[in-house]
């Protein structure tokens, strides 16, 4: 498991790890999806190109996850993989695979309103990158 769910008095968060920043950002996206629905049995039948930018690493992470949330919540897509590439220090693109979700196959466990800056943590410990993110549900 490359992430775990964290408790918050009113809402939900997660801690994710990665061998690189790219890896970490992908794992954070996977963690976010697992809060919203059960991500098992996702068929890899389509590809989407996602992009995000920020003014620093933290805002890039929040903006990236809000971009993923838009695809999951509004466009009703569920992803199973993310290949994140940094284009510039604070801009990324991502090839993501997955499928259009249906309420029958991937019922929503809880709707996430937004990804927040609350207690946001993004750091490198030894060779490993780690992030903590809280979302409003």
């Amino acid at each position: 498991m490359n992430f775990e769910i964290l408790e918050h008095p009113a809402d939900v968060g997660f801690r994710a790890w990665g061998d690189s920043l790219e890896d970490l950002f992908g794992n954070c996206a996977g963690a976010l999806i697992s809060i919203i629905l059960d991500p098992s049995n996702v068929e890899r039948n389509q590809r989407w190109d996602l992009e995000a930018e920020g003014s620093d690493r933290e805002s890039l992470l929040v903006n990236w996850l809000n971009e993923v949330l838009y695809y999951v919540d509004t466009r009703r897509i569920v992803f199973d993989s993310f290949a994140v590439r940094f284009q510039e220090p604070f801009r990324l693109s991502c090839e993501a695979t997955g499928e259009h979700r249906t309420p029958e196959k991937h019922p929503v466990r809880v709707s996430v309103k937004a990804v927040t800056y609350h207690q946001l943590l993004l750091s490198k410990t030894g060779p490993e990158w780690i992030a903590e993110v809280f979302v409003d549900v």
């Binding site: 408790e7 809000n66 309420p103 809880v110 709707s111 309103k113 937004a114 927040t116 609350h118 409003d136």
Partner: protein
């Protein structure tokens, strides 16, 4: 947060004196009780109220209501007024669910009328009022309609067959806030929210069929046309994905522009801009549009609720709106501060407006009693009807609490719980629960919340609001 020193002023008021080393521009005033304050100390909400006290242009104290708990940036149950000329507006001070609020509906039924038919009724309401987490809503908008909804709120719904004329008379701002700028709402926010119009949503949103358990203020209850054992319905929902996206968009924008305005804050989730700036004005226009979407949303839910009651009890049964209040909003209002009339922007994040009697914004039917305030408790306990009192005008920018306040995290309350057993426990207590998701029930169990009666004692005894009636649930629909 060891620097935070909390002084008890009396039985219901606590103060954190201004500490400039923390960047505070003002005091924090907390309304609480010896029991509740111990819960408050366990999370970060007091630290968040201190952070709010650092906002540029804050007027009066940073306020915390007795249901305060940890939120994002602002605490939930936080109130802050900023000077309209020199102060800032913070989207986080309104929250992601812009104009999340409650409306209370009275029926012409009594508890005895529904007793043997609650199962049929709750199942019918569950079928007719979409939760919206899995499926889309039933209000179909044509191209261009969304901007009209954003401008005209509940009025648009009534004009298009989703309600009755009286529905908009008894809602805060008539169900449509002035100053809405649909053009300042992103296409993405409209795309996210439009299919959800007329749906409850998940999380703590709900629809409860309740009965009046106790009447505390007979004349106010008479003005609201409610009496003991009458069946009422409480609807708690907000602006759905549209409001969430507006907040997301503007928190991102304000984080970008804060350096331009020389603003530095201890928490990025408080991101703000001067009210007078183009970004501040754009946000306020988008926020008002999202607020109108929320009023339209609650109006749609009422319409579908009427259908459901009609199917079960026939068309003679009437459902009438008592009032509709929002508890996540920023509103420009005039208040007397330090003996001087000031125009301020009151941020209410998990707090309800509570104007006292004779306030010019009240509808005529409530002019003599004060603004109705509805405070939902948890699904197994009770909810309250209150009226705004002069104390709120004097001390809290006319604001009171909005709920019981969470005590336990969603994961903690779920732990070791079995859905069948919990559902049976609630049924044994006379409460039928329906939800699209198992977690929707388990995460909102009564033990997750503080005692709503204790919260109400604080605002009643502190003179902010007055008890009118206590409501008990019989049927609950969770998103």
């Amino acid at each position: 947060m060891s620097e935070i020193k909390l002084d008890a002023l009396d039985d219901y008021r606590y103060r954190i004196a201004r500490n400039e080393t923390l960047g505070m521009r003002t005091d924090v005033l907390v309304f609480s009780s010896p029991v509740l304050i111990e819960h408050v100390k366990k999370d970060q909400s007091l630290g968040q109220a201190v952070n709010v006290a650092t906002l540029p242009g804050i007027v009066g104290p940073s306020l915390a209501m007795p249901d305060i708990h940890q939120g994002y940036g602002f605490p939930i149950g936080g109130v802050a007024a900023t000077d309209v000329e020199e102060g800032v507006v913070s989207p986080g001070g309104v929250g992601f669910d812009i104009n999340c609020g409650v409306r209370l509906v009275r029926s012409t039924l009594t508890r005895a009328d529904v007793k043997g038919r609650m199962k049929q009724l709750i199942d019918q309401v569950f079928r007719d009022v979409p939760c919206g987490t899995g499926t889309e809503g039933r209000v179909k908008l044509k191209h261009g309609d969304i901007d009209k909804v954003l401008e005209n709120g509940a009025r648009w719904m009534v004009e298009h067959g989703y309600g009755e004329a009286g529905d908009t008379e008894r809602a805060e701002a008539g169900g449509a806030m002035k100053g809405a700028l649909p053009g300042k709402v992103s296409d993405r926010a409209k795309e996210r929210g439009a299919p959800q119009l007329g749906t409850l949503g998940s999380g703590n949103h709900f629809l409860e069929i309740q009965y009046v358990d106790r009447v505390h203020d007979a004349s106010a209850a008479a003005a609201m046309k409610i009496e003991k054992d009458q069946v009422v319905i409480l609807i708690h929902s907000g602006s759905r994905g549209l409001g969430h996206q507006v907040c997301t968009d503007y928190v991102a924008l304000m984080n970008q522009v804060m350096p331009k305005y020389g603003i530095q804050l201890p928490d990025r989730q408080l991101a703000c801009a001067p009210i007078s700036s183009s970004e501040g004005q754009s946000y306020l226009g988008a926020m008002a549009a999202a607020a109108n979407f929320a009023w339209a949303n609650r109006q749609g839910i009422l319409h579908f609720l009427r259908d459901a009651f009609g199917r079960v009890f026939g068309t003679d049964v009437r459902l009438e709106l008592i009032y509709d209040v929002c508890h996540n909003i920023a509103k420009e209002e005039t208040h007397v501060v330090g003996g001087r009339r000031r125009n301020v922007l009151v941020h209410r994040k998990g707090a309800t407006r509570a104007f006292p009697a004779q306030h010019p914004e009240l509808p005529p039917s409530y002019a003599d009693i004060g603004q109705p305030v509805f405070v939902p408790g948890s699904m197994g306990t009770a909810s309250w009807v209150l009226t705004g009192q002069p104390g709120a005008m004097a001390e809290t920018f006319a604001s009171v609490c909005h709920g019981a306040g969470r005590l336990m995290s969603r994961t903690a309350v779920r732990k070791g719980k079995n859905i069948t057993e919990e559902r049976r426990k609630l049924e044994d207590a006379g409460i039928l629960v329906r939800s699209e998701s198992r977690d929707g029930i388990l995460e909102e169990l009564p033990e997750a919340y503080k005692d709503v009666d204790e919260v109400i004692e604080v605002v009643h005894n502190a003179g902010l609001a007055k008890k009118v009636a206590r409501l008990r649930p019989m049927g609950v629909i969770k998103g």
